[in-house]
C-alpha cells in the first residue's frame, strides 16, 4: 500500500485560471456546475489521488533486481524494476551487466509482466470435484489448502509404494530451471519410478543430431555473428525465435553491413525479410540444397585446406559425376571422410539437380554456395529446427552442419561455437536414499518406449539415450510397458503442446490421479485432479538458467524479486509472490517429502534435510525453522529452495569451495553469496577459437576425435542399437522410415550426411499442400496466448494479423480454391482438422500454407480461449500435425512432412 503524503502540492507556479493539475482537480471538485455529469467525475475522483502523486520516476526510487526470463530458451538474464512503495513489478529489461545482451531484451521478456498480473492465473490449490474427465467437461474445481493438496498427492504415492508398483508413478517436465533434478530426477528415483519424461523431443533434439554425429556435440550451437562474413540460416529465425534472440536482434543491423545473409525457409520469416537472399525451398528438401552447396564448394575448391585437407598433388579431383580415389587426398588431422562423403553423396548432386528437387534457381544456389565458400572460415551454416524436425531430419541436420566443417568454421572465428564450461555444481544426488522398493521400480522400462527397435533416440550416441516425449501418450494409453496411475506434471501443457495432442487428452483422462503444477488452468490442468499454482519463474522464485552467445555463457539467477530480502523465507512467503503459489522444483517436493514422512516414508525428507543445509551457515533446514506446524514446513520449503540455488552456484561465490573442492575452469569470481545474488549473473571466459581442433592440440568428442564427414560415430551408434535388437543396421533404418542403407548402391549411404526425400504424412492427392508450422515471435513457449500484448501485436509475425488466428496462403493457391482474404477456412490432414481465417500473402511459397503456432486454446484463460474450458479460439496447429518421429533422434515431427488440404468453410 502506498502511503499518502498530505503535504500541499506545488503547481509549478501556475497562476490565475491556468491551473496546475492538482488545483485543477480541486477546482473540478468544487465545480458543482458539472457535478454528476461525466466530465467532472474524473476531476472529483482525482482529488484524492492528486495528493499521492510521485515526485520521482520509479526508475530512480525503485530497485532493479536480477532474475531470468524463460520466455524461450534464450533464457536472457533480466533486471526487474520493483516499485519502492508497492513492491509492484513495473518493468523488466535485459541485465545491464550481461556481456551477451546488456539491457536489451526481446519483446517476450516484457510480456512477462502481463503474465504475472494476469487475472486468470491460478491463485491457490484446487481439487477436481467432477470425476468425469474430458475436453469441455467442467472439472468443477474447488479451492483447498496446500496442506490438504500435498496430503492428497502423498496418499497416492504411498499407495503405489505399499503395492510395490512405484513404476506407475510418472513425472513430466516442461520448461525448467537447473534446480530441475530435485523434482525431475531425484523425486521419482527416491519414489522408485523410471518415468520422468521431459519435453525435449518436442523442442529440437534433431537439431542436436547434426553436430553430434559430425563433431560429437549433442548441444545447441552459438554463432559468432560479430565476426562472420556469410550466414546461411536453415529454418532458423534468430531475430524472432530461438536462440539468444536478444543478442542476435541487437547485432543483426551490423551483421547486414558486414556479411551476406541467406535464409532457407518456405515462408518469408522475420530474418528472411531483412536478409540478402531468400531461398523458399519446398518443405522437407533442405537436405538436397545442402548437398548441392557442399558439391559446389568441393567442385570449385573452396573448402578449407587447413580443416579438411588437400589432394597430394594439389589438383582438384572433385569433378562432377566422378568418384575420387581416397588415396589421392591427404586429410587434415582435423577431419576425416570428405572423399567418402563426395563419393557416396555429393559427386552427382549439382545445383541443377537440387534446383529441380527443391524449387529454387540453380544459379541462386550456385551464388550462395560460392559466396559461403569464399567467406569461409568466417561463414556460418546456421541450423534451425525446421529442416530437421522431420521424419528423416537427422541426416539433413548432419548435411547442413557438415558445411561448417567444409569451410573450417567449426569452433572458429566468425563460425559456429559451443558454450565454455561453467562454474556451477551438480546438486547433491540421492543415491543412498534409494531403497529396494525404489530399486525394483527403477528397473522398469520407460513409458516412452525409448530404445526399442523403432525408437533408437541416439542421444550422445547411446541407444535409447534420448527421450521420445510424444510417444509417452501411447505408452500410457496402451499401458505398455506399464500402467500409469499417478502423474505429476510441471510447467508443461502436453495436452496442447504435443503433435496430435488429442492422444494426450485421452491419456490424461485415463490416468487415475493427476496433479499438475502450473500458473494457469491449461488444457492439461483441465484433466487434473489437483492444480498446484506455480510461482512465476521470472519474478517469484529461485532458479538458475544460462545464456550462450558472444563467445560466452552466463549463469543467470532467478530470484523472488518482490521480496525485500530474498534470503529470508518469511519475507519471500509474505511478499515474494502475488498469490498462494509455490515453486515446482523445490518447495513442492519438500512439502511432499514431509507429508511422505508423516506417512512413514522419510527417505526423501532425510535426503533433503541432510544434503541441503545452508552452505554458508551450515544450518540444516530443521535447525533454521524447527516446528511441525505447516507454516514451519512452508518456511523450510522456501529455505530448501534458497539452499538448493546456493549449492548449485557455490563455486561461483564461495572462494574456498572454488579453490579446494571444484575443478574451476575460469570465469568471473565472487567473494560471497550476497554479492553474487545481488548481481545475479556470472560470465565464463570467452570461448577460445579453434581450441578443439586436433591441429591446435585439441580433439573433437567423436569416436575418431576428429570432425567426421563419414559418419563414423553414427555408424557405431547405429550398430550398437542394431546389436541390441539382434538385427542389422538396414533393418533399423527400414523400421525407422529412412532411405539410407549400408552399402547399397541404389540408396544413400546410411552414415554420411545425405539427402533423403521427405516422408509425407498423408496422401499428396487428398492432401496436396504442405503445412508450414512456425513459432510465434511473442510465444513465450505457448504461454502467452492469454496476454493481450501478444494478441495486439501478433502482426510482428510477418503476414499475421492482430487478434486473429490466420493461415498464410499464397494468392495463387487461394485463387485456385476460390478463397479470399479473410475467408473462414478449414485445414485438414490425416491427423485432424482445424478452423481458421485465410490470409492471402505473397511471402509464402505456393503449395504451402503457413500458420503461427500457439493459438487454438480451449482453456488457459479467458483471452486465450473463446469460451474458457469449452471452445477454442482459432485453430491449433498440433491438431493437424500427426504424431510421427525422427526416430534416430526421438524428435517429434513438426515440419516438412505434414500434408494438408484447405477449403472454405
Amino acid at each position: 500500500m502506498s502511503q499518502r503524503d498530505t503535504t500541499p502540492s506545488d503547481d509549478g507556479g501556475k497562476l490565475g485560471f491556468s491551473f496546475g493539475r492538482r488545483d485543477f482537480m480541486k477546482a473540478g471538485a468544487v465545480g458543482a456546475v458539472a457535478a454528476g455529469l461525466g466530465s467532472s467525475l474524473t476531476s472529483l475522483r482525482s482529488v484524492a489521488q492528486a495528493d499521492d502523486y510521485r515526485d520521482a520516476l520509479v526508475d530512480h526510487t525503485g530497485t532493479y533486481k536480477p532474475s531470468t526470463c524463460a520466455g524461450c530458451t534464450s533464457w536472457c538474464s533480466a533486471q526487474i524494476l520493483v516499485d519502492d512503495r508497492t513492491r509492484r513489478v513495473i518493468r523488466t529489461r535485459g541485465h545491464e551487466d550481461s556481456e551477451i545482451h546488456g539491457t536489451h531484451d526481446c519483446p517476450r521478456q516484457d510480456l512477462g509482466i502481463q503474465q504475472l498480473y494476469d487475472p486468470d492465473r491460478v491463485t491457490q490449490p484446487m481439487r477436481r470435484t467432477n470425476p468425469e474427465k474430458g475436453k469441455g467437461v467442467d472439472p468443477e474445481f474447488e479451492p483447498i489448502s496446500w496442506e490438504e493438496a500435498i496430503g492428497m498427492l502423498a496418499d497416492e504415492i504411498m499407495e503405489l509404494r505399499e503395492n510395490d508398483e512405484t513404476e506407475k508413478f510418472m513425472v513430466t517436465r516442461g520448461r525448467y530451471t537447473y534446480l530441475r533434478p530435485i523434482l525431475y530426477s531425484y523425486l521419482p528415483q527416491i519414489i522408485g519410478s523410471p518415468n520422468n519424461i521431459s519435453h525435449s523431443a518436442i523442442c529440437a533434439e534433431a537439431e542436436k543430431f547434426g553436430p553430434m554425429f559430425t563433431e560429437g556435440e549433442w548441444a545447441y550451437r552459438q554463432y559468432d555473428v560479430q565476426n562472420t562474413r556469410y550466414v546461411i540460416a536453415w529454418g532458423a529465425d534468430p531475430i524472432s525465435s530461438n536462440r539468444q534472440v536478444s543478442h542476435y536482434s541487437n547485432e543483426f543491423g551490423d551483421l547486414l553491413d558486414r556479411a551476406t545473409v541467406a535464409v532457407v525457409e518456405p515462408r518469408l520469416s522475420s530474418t528472411a525479410s531483412k536478409s540478402d537472399e531468400w531461398l523458399p525451398v519446398e518443405p522437407g528438401k533442405d537436405g538436397a540444397l545442402a548437398s548441392a552447396m557442399a558439391h559446389v564448394i568441393l567442385r570449385d575448391g573452396l573448402w578449407s585446406r587447413e580443416f579438411v585437407g588437400e589432394f597430394e598433388d594439389g589438383e582438384n579431383r572433385f569433378v562432377p559425376d566422378e568418384r575420387v580415389d581416397p588415396a589421392t587426398f591427404e586429410e587434415s588431422e582435423n577431419s576425416q571422410g570428405v572423399v567418402e562423403w563426395w563419393n557416396e553423396e555429393l559427386y552427382d548432386k549439382d545445383p541443377e539437380w537440387a534446383a529441380e528437387e527443391v524449387g529454387v534457381d540453380a544459379e541462386q544456389i550456385e551464388r550462395i554456395a560460392t559466396g559461403f565458400g569464399e567467406a569461409g572460415p568466417q561463414a556460418i551454416s546456421w541450423l534451425g529446427g525446421g529442416p530437421c524436425m522431420q521424419v528423416r531430419g537427422s541426416y539433413t541436420a548432419m548435411a547442413i552442419h557438415a558445411l561448417n566443417g567444409l569451410v573450417g568454421s567449426v569452433g572458429n572465428r566468425g563460425g559456429t561455437m559451443y558454450a565454455p564450461s561453467t562454474g556451477v555444481e551438480d546438486l547433491p544426488a540421492p543415491d543412498p536414499y534409494i531403497d529396494e522398493v525404489a530399486e525394483h521400480g527403477l528397473n522398469n522400462e520407460k513409458i516412452d518406449q525409448r530404445g526399442r527397435l523403432e525408437f533408437p533416440a541416439l542421444k550422445d550416441g547411446e541407444s535409447g539415450g534420448g527421450v521420445v516425449t510424444n510417444n509417452a501418450a501411447d505408452g500410457i494409453l496402451d499401458e505398455d510397458p506399464n500402467e500409469i496411475k499417478v502423474l505429476l506434471s510441471y510447467w508443461n501443457n502436453f495436452a496442447f503442446s504435443n503433435p496430435e495432442s488429442k492422444r494426450w487428452e485421452d491419456a490424461l483422462a485415463k490416468i487415475p490421479f493427476h496433479a499438475t503444477i502450473e500458473t494457469h488452468a491449461s488444457e492439461t490442468a483441465w484433466f487434473a485432479d489437483l492444480i498446484l499454482p506455480a510461482t512465476h519463474h521470472q519474478f517469484e522464485r529461485w532458479g538458475q538458467l544460462r545464456s550462450t552467445a558472444a563467445r560466452r555463457r552466463t549463469i543467470n539467477l532467478h530470484t523472488p524479486v518482490m521480496a525485500d530480502d530474498p534470503d529470508d523465507p518469511r519475507d519471500v512467503l509474505e511478499n515474494g509472490r502475488l498469490w498462494d503459489c509455490k515453486t515446482d522444483e523445490t518447495e513442492i517436493p519438500y512439502l511432499l517429502a514431509e507429508a511422505l514422512a508423516d506417512r512413514g516414508f522419510d527417505n526423501m525428507l532425510e535426503f533433503f534435510d541432510n544434503e541441503y543445509p545452508d552452505p554458508e551457515s551450515g544450518r540444516t533446514l530443521r535447525e533454521e525453522f524447527p516446528g511441525d506446524d505447516f507454516e514451519s514446513r512452508e518456511l523450510r520449503a522456501q529455505a530448501f529452495s534458497r539452499n538448493a540455488i546456493k549449492l548449485r552456484t557455490r563455486p561461483i561465490w564461495d572462494p574456498a569451495y572454488r579453490e579446494n573442492e571444484f575443478d574451476w575452469l575460469g570465469g568471473e569470481e565472487f567473494d560471497d553469496w550476497v554479492e553474487f545474488r545481488e548481481r545475479g549473473i556470472w560470465h565464463t571466459d570467452e570461448w577460445e577459437f579453434r581450441h578443439r581442433w586436433p591441429s591446435e592440440g585439441g580433439e573433437f568428442a567423436t569416436d575418431s576425435g576428429r570432425f567426421e564427414f563419414d559418419g563414423e560415430t553414427l555408424g557405431n551408434a547405429l550398430r550398437r542399437h542394431a546389436d541390441r535388437h539382434d538385427v542389422d543396421v538396414d533393418t533399423v533404418l527400414e523400421v525407422c522410415n529412412y532411405q539410407g542403407r549400408v552399402a547399397d548402391p541404389d540408396t544413400p549411404d546410411a552414415f554420411v550426411p545425405h539427402y533423403e526425400e521427405p516422408y509425407d504424412l498423408g496422401d499428396g492427392g487428398e492432401f496436396p499442400m504442405k503445412f508450414v508450422d512456425h513459432k510465434d515471435r511473442l510465444g513465450r513457449e505457448g504461454r502467452s496466448a492469454n496476454v493481450w500484448w501478444s494478441l495486439e501485436y501478433k502482426d510482428v509475425n510477418p503476414g499475421d494479423v492482430p487478434y486473429t488466428d490466420v493461415a498464410k496462403i499464397n494468392p495463387r493457391d487461394a485463387r485456385q480454391r476460390g478463397i479470399e482474404d479473410g475467408d473462414e477456412i478449414v485445414i485438414s490432414s490425416p491427423a485432424g482438422e482445424i478452423e481458421t481465417t485465410a490470409r492471402l500473402w505473397e511471402g509464402i511459397r505456393p503449395g504451402t500454407v503457413a500458420k503461427t503456432w500457439g493459438q487454438g486454446h480451449w482453456a488457459y484463460g479467458q483471452r486465450a480461449s473463446e469460451e474458457m474450458g469449452e471452445e477454442a479460439k482459432g485453430g491449433h496447429n498440433n491438431l493437424v500435425i500427426g504424431a510421427e518421429y525422427d526416430r534416430l533422434s526421438g524428435s517429434s515431427v513438426f515440419y516438412g512432412d505434414v500434408q494438408v488440404d484447405i477449403e472454405r468453410r
Binding site: 485560471f17 491556468s18 465545480g31 458539472a34 455529469l37 461525466g38 466530465s39 502482426d795 494479423v801 492482430p802
Partner: protein
Amino acid sequence: MSGATGGVSGLLDDVPSSRRYYAWLAFVAVGLLIGAYGVLTTLIQGTTTLGLTDQVPWGILISTYVFFALLSTGICIGITSLSSVFGLSKYDPLVKRGIFLSLITLAAGGLVIMAGLGQPFRAIPQMLLSPNPAAPMWWMIVLYSIYGGALVAEFALIDRFEEPSETVSKTVAVVALVAPILAGAMLGAIFGTAEARPYYGGMFASVFLLVTAVASGVALIAAVTIVERKFSSATQAVVPEELITNTLGKYLGVMAAAVLLLTALRHVFGLVATSDSLALAHQEMLFGGMGLWSVGVGMLLGLLVPMALMAYPKTRTVNGVLAASTLVLVGMFASRFEFVVGGQVTALTADNFHEFPVASYVPSATEFAIVIAGIALFAMLYTVGRELFDLNELPHHEEETMTHTEAVTDGGQDNE
C-alpha cells in the same frame, strides 16, 4: 397590428387546425424526450456512446451542426439582409421570421455540437481562457457568438421598438450580414485547413459551404412561411403568394442548380484526382455504401428534383415550392453528412491498428437521438416563439410598407 396576439389570433382563426396543433406539440415533446436521453447518456457515459472511432472522429453530430449553423447563416445572408441591408423591401415580410429562424437554428446547432464534445463544460471557459487565434474553430465560435448577439439585437429592434434609430438598425443589420459570412467561411476553413484530408477541398470548402448555406436557408424560410400561411390568415395577409412562388421559388431553383453544379464539380475533380486516396474517398461516398444518401438523397432528390420543380411554371405553385424546399432541406442534411464523413472515409495510414484502406463509420442510436434533440429544440423554440412574438410583423422602415403589402396581396389574389 398588435404584435403580442398576432400569432395566437392567427391560430384561433383556424380552429380545425388546432387538433393538428396539439398533435404537433406532442410530437415536439416526444422529440425532446428522445433528445434529452441522447444528450444525458453521452454526458454521463462519455463519447463511447457515439459510433466514432480514432479514424472517424467526426460523425453525424458534426454534420448536423454544420447543417443547422449554415441554415442560420444562409437565411441571414440569403434573405433577411437583402431587406435589412440592401433595402429590397419585397423581402420585408420574411425578415422578422427569418431573423428568428436564424437564431433558433443557431441554437439547435450549438446544442448538437456541444453534446458531441468530450468535455462540453470546458468548452466555453477554455475558449476564453486559452484562445488559439490560429485555429479556425476558435474564430468560428467567436464569430457565431457575435452573430448571435447581432441577431438578438436585430430581432429586438423590430419586436420591441416602435421607432428604432435608422443607423442603429443598419449597423446591427450589417454586423448580422458580415459576421455570418465570416463565420460560415471559418466553418469551411475548419475543414479546408485539414490538409491531410483533401476531400474537403481546401479553401473551396468555405465557398462551397456558403453557397449551400444560402440554398438551405432559402429552403427553410420558404417551407416555414408556406406552412404558416396554411395555418394563419395573418401570415397569408402579410406574405403574398407571388413572393413565394415567384421570388422564393425561382431563388430556390437557381440555388439548387448552383449547388448541384458545385457538388458535381467536387466529385468529378475528386474522382479523377491523381491521389488514390482522394479518388477512393469519392468512389466510396458515391458508389459505396453511402451512395444512396449522397447521390440518391443528397443530389437527385435534394437538388435535381427541386430544381426541376422550380423550373417548370406548372409546378412552381405554393405546394410545389413547399415540396421543393422540403426536399432541399432533406437533401442538404444528407449532403452535409457526405461532406463531413467523406473526408475521413479513407484511412490515412496502413497501420495494422486501423482499418485500411477504408475506415467505417455507423452513427449510433445515441447519435441519432442527439440529432433529434437538435431538431426538437428547433421545433420547440419556433413553436414557443410564434406564440410570444408576432413573426408576421414587418420591419419598420419606409412607411409604404402597408401599401406595399396590399399591393402584393392583390397581386397574389390575381394569381388565384
